[in-house]
Symmetry: C2
Subunit: 190 residues, 2 copies
Amino acid sequence: MKLLEDRIRRDGIVREGDVLKVDSFLNHQMDVAFFGEMAKEFERLYHGCGVNKILTIEASGIGVACVTAQCFGCPVVFAKKSKTKNIAGDVWTSKVQSYTHNRLYDIIVSKDFLGPGDRVLLIDDFLANGAALDGLIDIVRQSGATLVGAGICIEKAFQPGGDRLRSMGIRVESLARIRSMSVDNGIEFC
Amino acid sequence: MKLLEDRIRRDGIVREGDVLKVDSFLNHQMDVAFFGEMAKEFERLYHGCGVNKILTIEASGIGVACVTAQCFGCPVVFAKKSKTKNIAGDVWTSKVQSYTHNRLYDIIVSKDFLGPGDRVLLIDDFLANGAALDGLIDIVRQSGATLVGAGICIEKAFQPGGDRLRSMGIRVESLARIRSMSVDNGIEFC
């Protein structure tokens, strides 16, 4: 998606350690008008696939997921990162390795909101190692829902997550795929 | 807002310990079409106030904040609950007592995204003791931005946060205000 690549070139900042800062529009400050453009593209890509639920994970995926859900006319469910007393009853659960925070955490989704009748599109802001998607996919499978695919804003294609998931037969659509990036040479897209 | 009161009566579940479960439409599964109705009401209430930034806190406020920001034509900034390596540089920071999780945590907002030029509307899904709003208000004041007010979906008016904030001169608009609730007698609105 050229619009996103242009925005990353303009506003993205590459830092040591394969960090791409896009917090001016994507995952700290959120340009919701721009989210609308990304959402339309996700809807175009998955048009006619019968998506009736968007699944994401807190926190930075929620904004894009909500705007995308408007285009699909369906609700969002976001997986929570720890059990709170406000979620009672049975939950689907999986584990996710966070490379950003360097820890393992549980994610949970209430069984009330995901089941065999659902056709699920996963939405997230970033795909690198694919750990968050692995957890969400595990939860979709446990629930008996149908996984339609994943819609990602920015894929770090030089990290293994995207190719690994595609080799498992999972449809992964990334609006911008970064082939390489460095502080000195900037960003190259696939 | 009658639409929200009706929805709470229909789908809300009261649990012991002053817990109101509205996770079927508000803060786990998210009914984004319904969020659009709440967003229009926030825009009506704060119309003409020059709001140019929505500030919320991760995670469950983000969805309503994003849909509300569409109505105002402005970006969202969400305060993060811990420092990650993806946020470099200087940040505004405050502390929030979570009664749900029974712990104290830091919230941070990058100085890049909040400053004297901003007229800020705070958005959150719940107001009870007001601890999250206290932290956000502290950050707005540090930044030199102007606090326009707060837009809350559900206020537990039997807890002290809303009245305390209003007595400080802060405009707080809550779409549904719960006067009392109990497992046996259900929910009474103000």
